[in-house]
């Protein structure tokens, strides 16, 4: 039985989305900027996608920029804000557990003379509002906090953070990296004082290579890609029409089934966690209270994550290593370090992530396999 439990890495594309995209590739392949009807037919897909996303995010349809994916959305938000608001200040705040698509542009700004403050997190992975309050300054240009952490699933108190920024530093922009939450846990930017929000298509059964950035009406970021002035000059380059249409289709399915999906995730999560923790020395990181139920970070003591991953792959179970750590190139997960897991856990943590299509049978099979594998793998460890 194939069990794909790596849905936070990427997902299978919905067949209906593929069908729709196929039609666009083969029939409606015009360039939306072309003046003829073939171009207009293509433009209609973009318009309709824009309408759908505006509906999901309860925003204006011109508040959405289509990008090449989550990484570009995050880069546009951070670098674009830095360029436009650089005269106001050179200070940003983010967390210690961001994805590299946020932390790397922040590092880049640091190298260009910006001051970046990093919020600590507690053992569940949550930031503290008090610390944020202390760090917020009049010249803080942007605060960037992810909605759902990609490694341990922790959900940040986005509403409270938005409220705090709004009341204490109203000029400061609030960016949310929602790549692991979009379509699964709803956020309405305008209600939560979110100015910038990044989402990605391929995490929700859409195609790879497409994402979006929501930009609130009051926000003026600079584009970071220049050219023919597409999308009101905010993101030049011929629109990825099939990608955008596939993304919109996938998102509409997610929004349509959001409630039942949440229930399904919760059931899977509770079942799996209660069973897996019966194994000796197996623990779950993060917190049940503040965690997204579709991401489970599992520490299996005395088993190297990479070895467990490959042993599971032999049984057609696909997970990811919470921290890629090999003898040749130690790369320790910033998130796991930030939540202060014991040292051994850095090297012994895997992540399982579910989709709406994950079944209880798959998890039963995974649990049986773990029960069989873990004791054997524990016999052979590096001394």
């Amino acid at each position: 039985m194939e069990c794909y439990l790596d849905n936070s890495a990427t997902t299978r594309v919905l067949p209906e989305a593929v069908e729709l995209m196929n039609k666009i590739f083969l029939e409606d392949y015009g360039n939306p900027s072309s003046l003829h009807n073939k171009g207009f037919d293509a433009e209609k897909y973009i318009r309709s996608a824009r309408d759908s996303f505006a509906d999901f995010l309860k925003c204006g349809k011109n508040d959405i920029i289509f990008t090449s994916g989550g990484t570009e959305s995050n880069n546009t938000a951070i670098i674009g804000a830095a360029i436009h608001y650089g005269s106001r200040g050179h200070h940003m705040i983010t967390t210690r557990i961001e994805h590299a698509a946020v932390s790397a542009p922040m590092k880049f700004l640091e190298s260009r003379g910006w001051q970046i403050d990093y919020l600590d997190v507690d053992s569940t992975g949550r930031v503290s509002l008090d610390q944020l309050k202390e760090l917020l300054r009049e010249d803080t240009v942007l605060v960037s906090v992810m909605h759902v952490n990609n490694e341990i699933g922790t959900i940040q108190p986005i509403a409270e953070i938005g409220e705090l920024i709004h009341s204490t530093a109203p000029d400061c922009l609030f960016h949310v990296d929602d790549i692991q939450g979009f379509g699964k846990l709803p956020l309405i930017p305008s209600k939560l004082h979110i100015d910038l929000l990044s989402a990605s298509s391929h995490k929700i059964h859409g195609p790879k290579g497409v994402g979006l950035l929501y930009v609130s009406p009051r926000t003026h970021i600079s584009p970071i890609i220049f050219g023919g002035g597409h999308q009101n000059g905010m993101r030049s380059g011929t629109e990825n029409v099939p990608g955008v249409a596939g993304f919109a289709y996938a998102a509409s399915e997610m929004y349509k089934h959001m409630e039942e999906n949440q229930k399904h995730f919760k059931e899977l999560h509770d079942y799996f966690v209660s069973e897996v923790t019966k194994l000796d020395d197996v623990t779950v990181n993060g917190s049940a209270e503040f965690g997204a139920p579709y991401i489970i970070s599992l520490t299996v003591k005395n088993v190297r994550a990479e070895v467990l991953l490959h042993a599971l792959e032999e049984k057609e179970i696909y997970v990811s290593a919470g921290s890629a750590c090999s003898s040749n190139k130690p790369a320790v997960s910033a998130t796991l370090k930030a939540i202060d897991v014991p040292r051994f856990a850095l090297d012994s943590t895997v992540r399982l992530s579910f989709s709406a299509h994950t079944t209880k049978e798959e998890l039963e099979y995974t649990l049986d396999t773990l029960k069989e594998l873990v004791p054997t793998l524990r016999k052979f460890t590096r001394k």
Partner: protein, 395 residues
């Protein structure tokens, strides 16, 4: 513009009565290499050299490919003249110098060779006439008959050709003139270089890789296949044997002292390699070992490893420093792949302090602890042998 190449070889030329064997192999190999690139080529043997006539070809690409043919010491780009007329030859000599040497401040000499004795003009006359014309055209040049910086060769055969430069070839002996051997390929920096070094002496390669799933990944295996593919550009197609080594490794781990794990493991690798070699008529093993590089490559460790098999083991890097090996691997284009951070079977269970001075008797005694199951595991491991032919697709 050049219309041909003259390929020079050195050692091939001194092989007495066997000389034709080496020359024929060289011609065959040059043809095989040139099949990989676009162009029309005619390869033939003349007077101790290989002559390659080219049409519709790319100069740079062809030179790069010829540099990968073992046995070729020098590659001379040749201009083939349309006319044999004395005045035309002299004119072409002037043009040749004009086109190929932008800075004319050098000494030169013209050396004519008249293989076609029916040609009416003696070599000396041609030398003098061409030399004079060049001096007249480019007064900055001067003649030095003893130690010239540029030797312009004019050869008179059925046509006349002209060359002056020699591009260094990779040397060695033509492939296929010295049997086959088995390379132990780990995925590190050294073993691909070792394979290249031995193959350069005319030896064709098989390779063996010890796979240890789930401790090593498919990407580690892919890495080894990529390395084999890269060196096959010189060595020709490689049969890569992939052996599942996990069970043997775990059994050694269970039964033997941990600090001896690596050395005992390597002894079993040598035994399996010997088995594969004998089954496939391979005449020796090749490893990338270099004295003292790591614990398993001290003289005492090598003494223990070597004792495990009864087949010649070639270690062409034995006296190399690490940096020399790295330099070579960069030249071969294997370095970038070699340093990809995937675990290989040698590192997964390595002890913090492995023995550096193993005693053979103690190692042998430890190995007796494996008596119960090792023969069976050995047999099973051999049965997992998966053979992949690498580097054939380009031929």
């Amino acid at each position: 513009m050049f219309q041909a190449f003259l390929l020079k070889y050195a050692e091939v030329g001194v092989k007495g009565k066997n000389r034709y064997v080496f020359e024929d192999a060289l011609v065959r190999n040059v043809k095989k290499h040139l099949e990989k690139i676009s162009g029309e080529f005619d390869v033939s043997k003349i007077n101790g050299r290989v002559f390659v006539q080219c049409a519709n070809y790319d100069y740079e690409e062809t030179v790069e490919e010829l540099k990968k043919v073992f046995g070729v010491v020098g590659i001379c780009p040749v201009r083939v003249l349309d006319s044999m007329d004395h005045d035309d030859v002299v004119k072409a000599a002037v043009e040749f110098i004009g086109e190929n040497y932008p800075d004319k401040n050098f000494s030169f000499k013209v050396e004519t060779r008249r293989a076609n004795k029916s040609y009416p003009i003696p070599s000396m006359t041609m030398d003098a006439d061409a030399g004079e014309a060049i001096l007249m055209a480019y007064p900055e040049t001067h003649v030095d008959v003893h130690n010239p910086e540029v030797r312009l060769h004019i050869e008179v055969r059925e046509t006349v050709f002209m060359y002056s430069k020699t591009i260094k070839g990779c040397g060695g002996m033509p492939l296929g003139t010295n049997g086959r051997a088995l390379l132990l390929l780990s995925g590190g920096i050294d073993s691909p270089v070792a394979g290249y070094m031995v193959s350069r002496r005319g030896v064709e390669l098989d390779a063996v890789y010890f796979n240890a799933p789930p401790y090593t990944s498919e990407r580690a295996k892919q890495k080894v296949m990529d390395l084999a593919r890269q060196i096959s550009k010189w060595t020709g197609p490689i049969h890569l044997h992939i052996i599942n080594f996990t069970d043997i490794q775990l059994y050694i781990y269970e039964k033997c002292p941990h600090d001896e794990l690596t050395i005992i493991m390597r002894r079993y690798m040598m035994r399996i390699a010997e088995h594969i070699a004998r089954q496939n008529d391979l005449l020796g093993l090749i490893t990338g070992e270099s004295i003292g590089q790591v614990a398993s490559q001290t003289m005492k460790s090598l003494f223990c490893t070597d004792e495990a098999c009864n087949i010649p083991v070639y270690r062409p890097l034995i006296g190399f420093d690490k940096q020399d090996i790295i330099d070579l691997s960069e030249k071969l284009g294997t370095y970038e792949t070699s340093i990809l951070p995937y675990e290989d079977c040698c590192t997964i269970f390595v002890a913090k302090h492995p023995v550096t001075k193993p005693n053979l008797n103690i190692i042998k005694k430890s190995e007796t602890k494996l008596d119960e199951k090792i023969d069976e595991l050995f047999k099973t491991a051999i049965e997992t042998d998966e053979v992949v032919l690498i580097g054939n697709e380009e031929r």
